[in-house]
Subunit: 186 residues, 2 copies
DNA sequence: TTAAGTAACGGACAATTGTCCGTTTAGTCA
DNA sequence: TGACTAAACGGACAATTGTCCGTTACTTAA
């Protein structure tokens, strides 16, 4: 019976899942929990932890991949229910509020075009942005020729905003600025 | 004879300068040189190194502060020699190319509004952007009401671009997008 | 069912970061 | 000039990250 549903051996998958579960709780409680402590709590050795997640970032990325997936999927949902430009706006608002992104986890996708395991997650986001841009262009709601990579880079700024009073309005201003750059027709 | 020109004791200043000199060379050669190695090369103990520069970031920030200062100063120079909008554009171009910012050093000013020693450097940049915006507004070259913090956050993206073929054109596109958002009158 | 092959394990170890604290010395004042 | 004091030093130590490699056990195939 070929069991390799995802190319991972059964015990490896079990370990991976257990590490993620433990890490999610631990990192939520304290973002700087030592990786070694997480490994111990998950009942695996250092080697196992690091083989699965070479860096702290990789671990965090895995934890929040679900939420990122949901965000990427949201794009098409919004496009079905709203006019393109409004869908785009709603998506950006959701991006700015996406709780998983806040604080330390924010740095995740920076320079994501380089390292390999980030790449996959990054691509999902680019695709989402590309679909939103394409729909808006088709509807004549923005200027043509915008580059999804560029726009995503700029939107990434929203994840870096420190959470201070006024953060929400700053998000709104920045989104407005970007839409202005895209030539959005209000 | 009161010698404290900058609130630092003479020997402390000498150490600080020596560390910076060594670190500049070492980090240019290999951005991941261990801090302990830098300390040893500068002939100071771990304690001294960490007292002066609590983190790797702090050290890098100090190294590149000169270059950042120059960038901030460039704004007024450009404003004297060029029409406001062109000055702004030239400044952004310089920002994108500022060699010190590339690679690992790029992350420096992210979330700069939080930690204290970053704050000062960050303020200089905000002031520069604010002066450029004000001049452009006064000349009617951009829409009024732009927020310097917002614009600087967006410009910060330029420091995060991985150096790949096409980086320069991506910089140009992003700058154009931002200027579009500002309502720049071409 | 068993044996072989290999992916995965996990703890020991190396490297680096970051802290602490007793010692030294620059700067001050009589 | 000779203490005095506080700033600064720097090495030892603790904590964390990251690597290595001999051992274990999941899978497959006969």
């Amino acid at each position: 019976m070929a069991v390799e549903e995802d190319g991972l051996r059964a015990d490896a998958r079990a370990n991976r899942d257990r590490i993620l579960e433990v890490a999610r709780k631990a990192l939520t409680h304290d973002p700087e929990t030592p990786l070694s402590a997480i490994g111990k709590a998950a009942g695996v050795g250092q080697g196992t932890l690091y083989r699965h997640f070479p860096t702290r970032e990789a671990l965090a990325l895995a934890i929040y991949r679900e939420e990122i997936n949901a965000l990427a999927a949201l794009a098409s949902t919004l496009l079905q229910k709203h006019p393109p430009l409004e869908a785009f706006r709603l998506w950006c608002a959701q991006l700015a509020n996406s709780s998983a992104m806040k604080r330390g986890v924010a740095k995740l996708l920076q320079g994501a075009t380089s390292e390999d395991d980030k790449r996959e997650t990054y691509e999902q986001m680019v695709l989402a942005v590309r679909s939103l841009i394409a729909a808006c262009e088709a509807a004549g709601a923005i200027d043509t020729g915008a580059n999804a990579d560029d726009v995503l880079m700029l939107l990434g700024v929203l994840w870096q905003l420190p959470s201070h009073p006024g953060r929400d309005s700053q998000s709104a201003r920045i989104i407005a600025l970007i839409f202005g750059g895209l030539g959005a027709k209000d």
